[in-house]
């Protein structure tokens, strides 16, 4: 089990920012920027799973990619296992790659269509180990079994698989080198519930056995509740709330987190009728044109004047719970 004494952090992120330039016109002149990630800070302890949830387009995948330096962040620091990966040179970054891996959101696009399943899963082994063919094949078979793919599939190409089968190829590849830290970007979205459960059980087994650390990005809140120790809720490039799992699901504090949790569909048609879903109204701002104050203020049912002028800071409002909302500002009491 987790050691709660002094959880040593494997991953520390400070002020991570990623702005994509917007170009327009015939000369593709730069006219602005998409503020996909706007000053995000958090840490993940060794052996911990941090869930990352939030509205589509709020910057989750970008955070994941920037963490592993699959894109160059505009600003911020990302320390993984004692090293700032944002400043590593090419050789040191390459040496660090085996320890940090990613399961991509779009399985088809991340798999080379001209490689067979065996070649795809073995690729990281070719690059980072000196193993002989037999040993690599044995490892490939072991991984396929772990993610529930029939071993007779080894010579098939990605397009010959169903969506869920492809997603599992991506997971097998990410786990090939026994990484320390894995960013799982919607790893189970295309899987049926039984195979989702199999994959989640596998991720948890690996965590128990070898202390893996995960950033688990997902829209499936019941699965996040199952797997994550703590959960960060993002809204439009910033973290709205970061709380321990139980606390968040029992009583979300940030109004966006509350609205999000109220909208989950339940597998029970007889209950579907009586649910109270908080429907968000108001303009959805874009990452290219953020409102001046709190980025949720245009849709927040509890917004007041201060929210429209001043950006709330992410601050601890209860032990272990961080919220970026003026309603919970411990220094100044909220109006209304």
């Amino acid at each position: 089990m987790l050691d709660h004494a002094i959880p040593e952090d494997l991953v520390t992120v400070e002020g991570l920012t990623m702005h994509f330039p917007i170009h327009a016109g015939v000369f593709r002149r730069r006219v602005g920027a998409v503020r996909a990630v706007d000053g995000v800070s958090f840490s993940i302890a060794r052996g911990e799973t941090l869930g990352l949830v939030g509205e589509s387009g709020c910057g989750k995948s970008t955070v994941g990619r920037a963490l592993l330096r699959l894109c160059e962040p505009t600003a911020g620091r990302v320390v993984i296992d004692g090293e700032d990966v944002t400043t590593l040179d090419a050789a040191r970054l390459r040496a660090k790659r085996p320890a940090m891996q990613m399961v991509f959101q779009d399985p088809q696009a991340s798999l080379n269509p001209r490689m067979t399943l065996k070649q795809i899963i073995a690729e990281p082994l070719n690059v980072h180990t000196g193993w002989d063919t037999d040993r690599k094949l044995a490892r490939v078979r072991e991984l396929m079994e772990a993610v529930g793919l029939d071993r007779r599939f080894v010579n098939r190409f990605p397009h010959e698989f169903s969506g869920g089968q492809r997603q599992r190829v991506g997971i097998a590849r990410a786990l090939a080198l026994n990484p320390k830290f894995v960013v799982c970007d919607e790893p189970i979205a295309a899987l049926d519930v039984s195979i989702q459960a199999q994959i989640v059980n596998l991720l948890e087994d690996l965590q128990e056995r070898s202390g893996l650390t995960y950033l688990f990005i997902s829209h499936d809140l019941s699965m996040v509740r199952h797997i994550a120790d703590r959960v960060a809720v993002m809204y439009l490039g910033r973290i709205a709330e970061l709380s321990p799992r139980e606390a968040l699901f029992a009583r979300p504090l940030h109004p966006y987190a509350e609205a999000l949790l109220s909208a989950v569909p339940r597998a029970d048609p007889s209950r579907a009728a009586g649910r109270r879903r908080i429907v968000l109204k108001g303009d959805v701002p874009s990452a290219a044109r953020m409102p001046p104050g709190c980025n949720f203020s245009t849709r927040c049912p509890r917004a007041f004047d201060r929210c429209r002028t001043e950006i709330p800071r992410l601050a601890e409002v209860e032990p272990g719970r961080q919220v970026a909302c003026h309603l919970f500002d411990p220094t100044k009491p909220a109006a209304g």
């Binding site: 195979i195 909208a263 569909p265």
Partner: protein, 355 residues
């Protein structure tokens, strides 16, 4: 019996009969779709669930001619769109129906969007081609469509390329393209996997709205049983390239009959209640479809399996009338299992929410 009272409003928009699709890989064959029959009526929403690899996507892609052939071969069956067998149409005629009368949302948005065309152009294309709009009108309508699926700053986003969109935004672009020509039938393959629950709810509302306004029929493939429970009129469950159960949504969730469906419903993790130490899975491996099923394909994973299951593939038969009984012979609770009489029926509690 199939023809029954096949007139007017009850007549299905789409009626698929004994569809069979095989991938011919030279050395081997994959029997991905085996005698699949189903229908969907005007304004109706048919939910399709089933194990990964059970043939949901291949079924839907074969009926609108979207599979590359070779290796895919449609070896039999009829696909009646308003009574006309579209499998017999020329590829050209079929491609006109796609887009104009049938909208299709692919499971994998990145591969079905064109990476070198702007999102605006991809949205305008079907409007120009099928609706005869000029560029300006098509572009204006494209912005509207993007707004409808909740893409902020839609006008500015028109000139963006797919890789500049997030996973869920791409999925919404796909939905917008599929809805562009206001089709009679929308086939949506896992359309909301990359969407958070609030935007998913928005997309669902949009779909419900179009069903009411235009009478659009919808086939919605999903692994999310919560979504199915909330939006489907009827549900069809697939396993090993076959339909193993089909029923009105309330009947299916209240009294699932097929052992696979029952196992599937038991695996849903709860959002409230105690957290399980380990999630439930269905033990055993899915069938590998190298030959056409000659026996029940779930038998290796089923507690009820006996000698009969190993030699006769059960037909999908009506085991009960729909609870809100209509006299339509096509409605009811259908199950493909030899042991239906032995299986507990109405008292079964499928719902994992209270687990």
């Amino acid at each position: 019996m199939q023809q029954g009272g096949d007139i007017g409003a009850t007549r299905p928009v789409l009626d698929v009969r004994r569809l069979k699709t095989v991938f011919n890989l030279g050395s081997a064959e994959v029997h991905a779709v085996n005698d699949v029959s189903f229908h969907v009526r005007r304004g109706e929403l048919l939910g399709v669930v089933g194990e990964s690899g059970s043939g949901k996507s291949v079924t839907m892609m074969s009926l609108v001619g979207l599979l590359a052939s070779p290796p895919a071969e449609v070896r039999g069956g009829e696909v009646l769109l308003d009574g006309i067998d579209i499998l017999k149409l020329t590829p050209r005629a079929l491609s006109d129906i796609r887009g104009a009368r049938i909208g299709f949302v692919f499971q994998d948005p990145m591969t079905s969007l064109n990476p070198v065309l702007t999102v605006g152009d991809q949205l305008a294309e079907p409007l120009i081609r099928h609706k005869g709009m000029d560029r300006r009108r098509a572009a204006a309508r494209a912005v509207e469509l993007l707004e409808m699926v909740g893409i902020p700053d839609a006008r500015a986003r028109m000139s963006g390329y797919p890789h500049q969109f997030s996973g869920g935004m791409r999925q919404r672009v796909m939905i917008a393209i599929a809805l562009a020509c206001e089709p009679d039938l929308l086939i949506a393959d896992e359309p909301t996997t990359a969407l958070d629950v609030t935007i998913q709810a928005q997309i669902i509302d949009l779909m419900q709205d179009l069903r009411q306004k235009l009478g659009m029929a919808v086939i919605w493939i999903t692994h999310d049983l919560g979504v199915v429970a909330e939006i489907a009129d009827r549900v069809m469950v697939m396993y090993g390239g076959q339909v193993v159960e089909e029923a009105p949504v309330r009947d299916l969730f209240a009294a699932p009959r097929h052992p696979y469906t029952r196992a599937l419903l038991r695996t849903v993790p709860a959002l409230d209640g105690a957290r399980l130490h380990r999630l439930n899975t269905i033990e055993g491996q899915p069938p590998i479809l190298f030959e056409a099923p000659g026996a029940c394909s779930f038998r290796h994973r089923c507690d009820h399996a006996d000698a009969q299951c190993a030699c006769v593939n059960p037909d999908c038969c009506k085991v009960a009338a729909a609870r809100d009984a209509t006299d339509d012979p096509k409605s009811g609770h259908f199950v493909a299992c030899h042991h239906v009489p032995a299986l507990p029926g109405a008292e079964a509690r499928a719902v994992a929410v209270d687990a």
